[in-house]
Symmetry: C2
Subunit: 428 residues, 2 copies
């Protein structure tokens, strides 16, 4: 396990939260950590130096996208993903499995592989556990993920129309043929453990564990019994870290919390625990309190591109006319490159805060700089939240946290559970 | 004239080129100067700090776009253009006249105004000399331009179909009715001087000359006699600087050089001379040798957004498949944020050069970071050219310049005049 070490530094006295540091061959990152997502080998619109200025210490790349374009061999030829995208710190790549399920019009899952149509050129692509490893070895991230079978978390027959879309074409087809959700979850659990063993074998056959660390993924949907079984199976395979998958794929906040609170404690205490693809601020806080160490989510960048800016008091929509002549920054308390360029004075002598009025103009005019600035702000917002979460754990001061992050705190700690959007109360 | 001073520092012994410094209330810039264009209050995709890192000391904003969206009163309410766009250095705004002619489907020019349809909402907008001043006073740039009448530089009846499109709808309509190019040029000259006098009166009535410096614009098409007459009229109005307008609006390289060489020497020796909207590298070099001090052009940013990167050895098209696995930077000799991030080490610890292969991937994948990186490179390319031009003037070393910038030098100094694109020889 020389490629990765994890040291726990502080434990909260009142919950399962802990702070720590993960060390990789490309540097270390503090936990709990939020990893912004660079899907196609770039955090959309952001220079690596500016990503670093948000306090991000590790970023995520998507295997699915990179294997299709430019192809993993191109990335390898250009020196691997770190060199390719100019990010010299730690990187994590997913297995490609989740997008193969969720983004493809046509896919088949067999006991051997996932078969899907490429979103780039429509060709048929087969992803086996071995191929998922080979691709991630070519990319060269510090942490790589096993290929798993990710079923819908809840029975798709009970889904709303929107959630049915989220659950993907394949599940709808199965539903038409008569669908047994429990059987599907069992099947996914079985495939996930068998595929994990194949991933590990491929990974270690090449000696890759000396440079890259393979994490396993626990499945089981929202059924706690099946979560327990999957955790037992997956954690029975000796690995440097473990993830909780299949969460936040359409179910509500209470379900997310219930599953994470149950599952996090089943993962080994001494290894990093990663909750995949989650989420809103209050989801992160709840998961941290359950003992989770690592998170990734596209929210700060995706919402930023849509003029949706996070603040501790709720989110604001910068396209709204109310901001037209508003000279104030997005968030008076934020220290990002948009809100306080003067704090980055070596870069911006005399820099003035970016006003909400200017940001509205940029979005109205279709200018790239709007998405760029709000993405930078939002990523920094999430990193400021993580800094404060780590401080709160060290001081075991959750009431202080609730004062500093009122909307998040109220939702997470005070029991205000209205639905998945409420930690992002929109103020105007 | 307290708002602007111009000091000439060196004169070339072999041509009319000179170096100097222009001082404004927002700081100074060295001349000859290249001003990148921030049309809608942003250099597309670039943070102000990164624009500064290209060596740009002054930027241009477009009055036409800003008066239509968000409107000059919004910019004023947000503290003026410097504060609005977060650029604390000098800014120049044009009058809006050129875009009123070139971008509008419907426009009428009378002795009093230009009337056009807004590209934002289709409403009819009237631009008078007084309104052009009022808008620029609200924007608050350090250097503002008089409203001029900009006719097609050459008789549109002789134009190719492409150049006819460039000359605009209005000129084609006039051509159908029987068009007298000489009379049109005379009319434009007369309007230009009358409008300049009205601009100056409005500007000084409000005392704006204490904070903003009004430049006049010489017209006259490609007719040297009419250029002389316009220069005499325009320079007869006491102003802190003068511009050459109506150049590079469809005519070829030889015509540009002939007109600029004739006109630059007619402008006052002791004041900055600004050639509007020009151009390719060799156009800049030829104009500098004729005594021009200031330039603006959208080429580095517009071409950058289209994956077209400038180098001293010609331009490269980064979408081409030949770059797929190319690990080399755009230009080994460049020190921009893309080619040599390690030189900006306070921003990018351990930064690695951005490869042509990565850039190609970004353009293929439709990622914003491609346009951003190539725009940054191209603006730096133009600023490196200006740094070298200033050095060349100081040392009067034009043969050294030709060695360092072979393609530009050959086109400009060696008489290789193949057409307007040849200083941008495309290498692949």
């Amino acid at each position: 396990m020389g490629a990765l070490s994890f040291e726990i530094e502080h434990r909260s006295g009142s919950c399962a939260a802990r702070t720590g540091v993960v060390r990789t061959l490309h540097g270390s990152f503090q936990t709990p950590a939020f990893m912004p997502v660079g899907t196609q080998g770039t955090l959309k619109g952001l220079l690596p130096k500016d990503v670093r200025a948000t306090g991000s210490e590790i970023v995520l790349g998507n295997t699915y996208h990179l294997m299709l374009r430019p192809g993993e061999e191109v990335v390898r030829a250009l020196g691997g993903l770190h060199s390719f995208m100019g990010w010299t710190g730690p990187i994590l790549t997913d297995s490609g499995g989740y997008q193969a399920y969720s983004m493809s019009d046509i896919n088949r899952v067999t006991d051997d592989s996932v078969v899907f149509r490429s979103i780039v050129d429509g060709s048929e692509v087969t992803l086996t556990p071995e191929r998922a490893m080979d691709v991630q070895h070519a990319l060269g991230a510090d942490i790589i993920m096993a290929l798993d079978d990710c079923p819908p978390s809840v029975d798709p027959r009970g889904f709303s129309a929107t959630r049915q879309r989220l659950a993907g074409q394949r599940e709808r087809a199965e539903r038409r043929r008569g669908y047994d959700h429990g059987a599907r979850l069992d099947e996914a659990n079985e495939r996930t453990i068998r595929w994990l063993e194949r991933c590990k074998a491929r990974h270690e056959a090449g000696g890759h564990q000396e440079r890259q660390s393979l994490f396993g993924i626990v499945q089981g949907g929202t059924d706690l019994e099946r979560r327990s079984r999957s955790a037992e199976q997956v954690c029975g395979v000796e690995l440097p870290g473990y993830a909780i998958g299949g969460v936040a794929v359409g179910e509500g906040y209470e379900e997310i919390v219930r599953v994470v609170e149950h599952t996090a404690g089943l993962l080994p205490e001494g290894k990093p625990r990663y909750l995949m693809g989650v989420g809103y601020e209050r989801d992160l806080v709840a998961a941290v309190r359950a003992g989770v160490d690592m998170f990734d989510c596209v929210l700060p960048t995706r919402n930023g591109r849509n003029a949706y800016a996070f603040t501790p008091f709720g989110a604001i929509r910068l396209r709204n006319a109310i901001h037209t002549r508003d000279p104030s920054p997005i968030d008076e308390g934020c220290d990002c490159l948009a809100c306080r360029p003067d704090l980055h004075a070596w870069e911006t002598p005399g820099g003035v805060p970016v006003s909400r009025g200017y940001l509205r103009h940029l979005f109205q005019a279709g200018e790239m700089l709007g998405p760029i600035l709000v993405s930078l702000h939002n990523v920094r917002h999430f990193q400021r939240l993580m800094v404060d979460i780590r401080r709160t754990i060290r001081d075991d001061d959750w009431s202080g946290f609730e004062r500093r992050w009122p909307v998040v705190g109220a939702a997470t700690l005070g029991g205000d559970r209205e639905g998945p959007e409420s930690s992002c109360r929109v103020m105007d």
